[in-house]
């Protein structure tokens, strides 16, 4: 279905990534946000607080991130599309509820505008060091989706994608901005509502009595309900059977937890989101994401000017990791160069997918600013030798 025009600010704008992200959530149909102030992410909900009273919805500033991250899930089961926004320390506090959303298959969006860590770290400066936390931060086995925009325009576009994927797969989706993308201001085009695809919540058509809350469809994703419609359903973070009832046994655990991962498998393959260029003849491929991909582009251009055939693989959906694409690329190239604003996170996934078929070089950075393109260029030139 198309976006509800009430939330769509159609036109050409000059917005920073945080504000563009907010507009994306509104276009996606989010009418509920809960947040707790934290730099450099707060502008997303500040704009939402300013916009939502005229659109028709709720913003509530909660007492902490623990509250914000579960308030949105209450809202989802009440029938809303909902999200929260945070950065490093707040993201750490939200981990338990990311696990709850995964376990209860609650579609919702967590925006993380990444800053330098660990702990309080660099509140006003960029990093990409929460990538592993986004995937593995809560306890137990589960799957999530994570998306990495590299521009304000993409903050808008991927906010919509995040909501759509969360509804389609019934998972929490992490929208992983970084401080640079969040605070950079660029042109953002917001199209007509009629051209924006919004994935509707898939409410069950079965009547109460016949409906089972966690009975998966063929795509391994169950249909949804909302409170107040007479289904008298039960949601629990305990291991549960298809009825939603707690079931403390090995068989249920295996069946239900395995499905939480299996339902996301398309995202590792044909549904993975990426941007590629110059791969046909590439001997060295730069694999990057978020703000780093823009610095990497400069390094790729410089390498090409020096006669080194460098190519680009920009990860957009980072989790599930697009391993089929990386694995297919590996035998065709001499090396992959992986710059990231951390001391080596996604590079491990690249290495795993490459499985020794080509060289992999990390270009680490502890965060606080972006790479110097010369540093990435040097890595490309060395890898090409």
């Amino acid at each position: 279905m198309h976006a509800d025009p009430k939330g769509v600010l159609t036109g050409v704008h000059f917005l920073d990534g945080d504000h563009a992200c907010c507009e994306g959530t509104l276009a996606a149909g989010a009418r509920f946000a809960a947040g707790y102030p934290i730099t450099p992410s707060t502008e997303v909900v500040e704009r939402f607080a300013s916009r939502i009273p005229t659109v028709g919805g709720v913003f509530i500033q909660m007492e902490d991130e623990l509250a914000a991250s579960i308030t949105i899930q209450g809202a989802v089961w009440g029938g809303a599309k909902a999200f929260t926004v945070t950065s490093g320390p707040g993201f750490s506090l939200m981990m338990e509820h990311i696990g709850y959303a995964a376990m209860t298959e609650t579609p919702c969006v967590f925006v993380n505008v990444q800053r330098g860590g660990p702990s309080t770290g660099l509140p006003t400066l960029p990093a990409q060091a929460d990538m592993m936390q986004a995937r593995w931060g809560s306890h137990g086995d589960y799957g999530i989706i994570a998306l990495c925009p590299n521009s304000p325009q993409e903050c808008f576009d991927l906010a919509i994608t995040a909501f759509n994927l969360s509804e389609e797969f019934r998972v929490p989706v992490m929208l992983m901005l970084d401080e640079c993308v969040g605070h950079m201001t660029e042109k953002v085009i917001i199209p007509d509502a009629a051209t924006i695809d919004v994935y509707p919540r898939r409410f069950t058509h079965l009547p109460p009595g016949e409906f089972r809350l966690f009975e998966p469809r063929e795509d391994k994703v169950p249909d949804m309900v909302r409170a107040g419609d007479g289904y008298r359903f039960h949601v629990t973070g305990l291991t549960h059977d298809e009825r939603g009832y707690p079931s403390m046994n090995v068989e249920t655990q295996s069946r239900s937890v395995t499905r939480l991962l299996e339902k996301l498998e398309p995202l590792a393959g044909e549904r993975a989101l990426s941007e590629t260029a110059d791969l046909e003849d590439a001997e060295v491929v730069v694999v990057s994401y978020g703000i780093t991909s823009r610095v990497a582009q400069r390094a790729i251009d410089m390498a090409r000017q020096q006669g080194v055939r460098a190519g680009k693989f920009r990860i957009i959906s980072a989790w599930p990791f697009p391993e089929q694409h990386i694995a297919a690329l590996a035998p065709r190239v001499r090396a992959m160069v992986v710059p990231e604003l951390n001391l080596g996170q996604m590079v491990r996934e690249v290495e795993r997918a490459v499985a020794g078929k080509c060289k992999v070089t990390l270009v680490p950075h502890a965060g606080g600013t972006v790479h110097n393109p010369e540093v990435i260029l040097k890595a490309i030139l060395e890898a090409a030798q």
């Binding site: 809960a34 005229t54 028709g56 709720v58 509250a67 579960i70 308030t71 209450g74 509707p200 008298r232």
Partner: protein, 299 residues
């Protein structure tokens, strides 16, 4: 008692005529609670309140945290949510704000609501969020084996206070009143009629309502403190309880074996969250204000 009555039935006979059955998920019985635990008594009172209030049960949702009382949501035949430890109130806040026609009841224990979840309690009360919070206070962490809670009275022996509790305990009713609750009452599981009536009353009252129910944990609290069995606890509740409606909540501290002040202490009108939201937005935005419609469309 003969052997037959001691046996726990695996399935409830079809002709069972207990009036609370329609309010429970009978396919989940037997429940996990110990003999002489007070939680079942409170659930019984709650179902009586639902019957008396003539509530549309499709529009009543129940939200629990973690712990023995946290299991109530799983047994209630309502839209029910067993959330994370301490976070029943913020979950319920989102549920209520998204779907205001729901009557949202938070049903959880003292450790859940006042230790790990204490911050959420005071803020929901401050906002006068339209939630009915029922706290079964057994004065201990029961599910995990009887550790000290912020409600455990001085001198009590617990698994983590083997030489006696020395930290001062919270007075929950005073805390609720100070934080802004519209309705505050306390009963024990001996006071089943009064408790049922209070529960019915809050189902008709707008705003943040709080009912504390003092309840035995014979397995881990009474036994460890040589306070007898379930029946002895009922006798203690009967003898030590003083009904003082309207009492000053600051004078209602709980002690190990002293007087238990029970009654309805607070019943006041404060503007609710939506009322304040709507009036503020109308004042500043006028016609531009669109009242919240947060539910997404069906496919």
């Amino acid at each position: 008692m003969n052997e037959q009555t001691l046996e726990i039935p695996g399935t409830i006979p079809a002709d069972a005529a207990n009036p609370v059955e329609p309010f429970l998920r009978m396919d989940r019985m037997p429940h996990i609670w110990c003999p002489a635990c007070g939680i079942g008594t409170t659930v019984n009172c709650f179902t009586r309140a639902l019957i008396e209030s003539h509530a549309n049960l499709d529009k009543v949702a129940i939200v629990s945290g973690i712990g023995c009382t946290g299991r109530v949501a799983g047994y209630a035949n309502l839209d029910s949510f067993h959330t994370t430890h301490g976070r029943a109130i913020p979950f319920a806040t989102g549920l209520k704000l998204a779907n205001p026609e729901l009557q949202v009841v938070v049903y959880s224990g003292d450790g859940d609501l006042f230790a790990i979840g204490g911050n959420h309690f005071i803020h929901a009360a401050r906002r006068n969020m339209d939630l009915k919070v029922i706290c079964v206070n057994n004065l201990t962490y029961a599910m995990t084996g009887g550790q000290t809670a912020p409600t455990t009275p001085s001198k009590v022996i617990s698994a983590t206070s083997p030489y006696g509790v020395f930290e001062p305990a919270f007075n929950l009713v005073a805390l609720a009143e100070a934080a802004g609750a519209s309705y505050v009452a306390r009963w024990t599981t001996f006071h089943v009629k009064q408790l049922s009536r209070s529960m019915e009353e809050v189902l008709h009252k707008k705003g943040f309502c709080f009912i504390e129910v003092i309840s035995p944990c014979p397995t881990l609290y009474q036994r460890r403190n040589k306070m007898g069995d379930g029946l002895d606890t009922m006798k203690y509740y009967k003898q030590a309880s003083k009904i003082r409606n309207g009492a000053r909540t600051t004078e209602c501290d709980m002690t190990k074996s002293g007087e238990i002040v029970v009654g309805k202490f607070v019943d006041r009108e404060r503007p609710g969250y939506f009322e304040l939201l709507n009036s503020q937005m109308t004042e500043t935005l006028g016609d531009r204000y669109a009242e919240p419609e947060v539910m997404c469309e069906q496919c």
